[in-house]
C-alpha cells in the first residue's frame, strides 16, 4: 500500500484548516472596518 495519498491528504486538510483559521479574522476585520468607516461617513454627512 502506497502511503503517499495519506500523507498528502493529511497535509492538505491540515493546511486548509489552519489557513482558514488564520485568514478568517483578517477578512472579518476588513469587513468590520469598512462597515465602521461607512457609518462614520454617514454620521459626518448628517452633522
Amino acid at each position: 500500500m502506497s502511503h503517499t495519498p495519506f500523507i498528502l491528504a493529511s497535509y492538505l486538510i491540515s493546511t486548509a484548516v489552519l489557513l482558514w483559521a488564520a485568514l478568517a479574522p483578517v477578512f472579518n476585520k476588513r469587513g468590520l472596518l469598512q462597515q465602521l468607516k461607512a457609518r462614520q461617513a454617514r454620521m459626518d454627512k448628517t452633522q
Binding site: T4, I13, L18, A24, P25, L32, L36, Q40
Partner: protein, 261 residues
Amino acid sequence: MTTETAIKNKPRKNALVMFIHKMGSPPWFYNFSGKLVPWLWAIFCSLAAWALYLGLFKAPADYLQGESFRIMYLHVPSAWMSMMIYTSMAIMGFIALVWRIRIVEVLAMCSAPVGAAFTLVALASGSLWGRPTWGTYWVWDARLTSELVLLFLYLGVIGLYNAIDEPRKAARAACLLAIVGAVNLPIIHYSVKWWNTLHQGSSIGTSGNSIHPSMLWPLLYMAIAFKLYYGANLLSRARLKLLKQDHRKRWVQDLLAKENQ
C-alpha cells in the same frame, strides 16, 4: 516629610506588574499586539518551513511504519496544541470569572476557535495515519474518543458564547463551561495508560524518548512553530473582538479617523 521625599520613597511598581496593568487597557493592548502579530507570523512561517523540510526530506523513513510516520509532524504537535490551548483557555476562564478582567475574557473566548482548528487537524491527520498503520480510519478507543469529546467541548464553548447577546454575560457562561470541560484533559493524557487502546503510548516524556534525534528535532521545531501560530492567531482574533465590542468608544473612533487620513 515633604512631597518630594514622599514621591522618592514611594515603592516603585515591578516592571512586569506595570506591563500586566497596561495590557488590561484595550487601546494599549490593541496597539501592542498589532506590532507583535507580524513578527509572530514571520517566525512561525520560517520555523514551520524549516521543520517541514527536515521532517519531510531529511528524516529517514521509519523502519516499521515506512513513510506514513511523516504525518507525525502535523498530528503530534496539533494534538499537543489542542490540549495546551484548552488548558490555557480554562485558566484564562478562571481568571476572567474571579477577577473580571475583560482582556482575559476576550483572550479565553478567542482561544476556542484556534483550539478547535488544532483538534480537527489532530483528528483528521490521526485518522489518515491510522488507515495505513492500523488498517482503519477510526476506532472508538479511549484516546480517539476523548479527543473527539475535546472537539465537542470547543464547539460547545463557541456555541454558548455566540448564543448569548450580551458579550460579557456570554463570556462568563462560556468560561464556566471551559473550566468544567477541563476534566477531560487528564482523561486524554492518561487514556493510553488507563485503558487498553489501539493508540500507542507517548514516545516523548520526561524520562526520555524513543525517537531518533533526526526525527525528533523537526517535531520539536514544529511544536514551537504551532505555539507561535497560536499566539499570532489569538492576538489577531482578540484585536478584532475588541474593535467589535468597543466600536462606539473614543479610541476606536480615533483609530478610524487616523486610518481615514
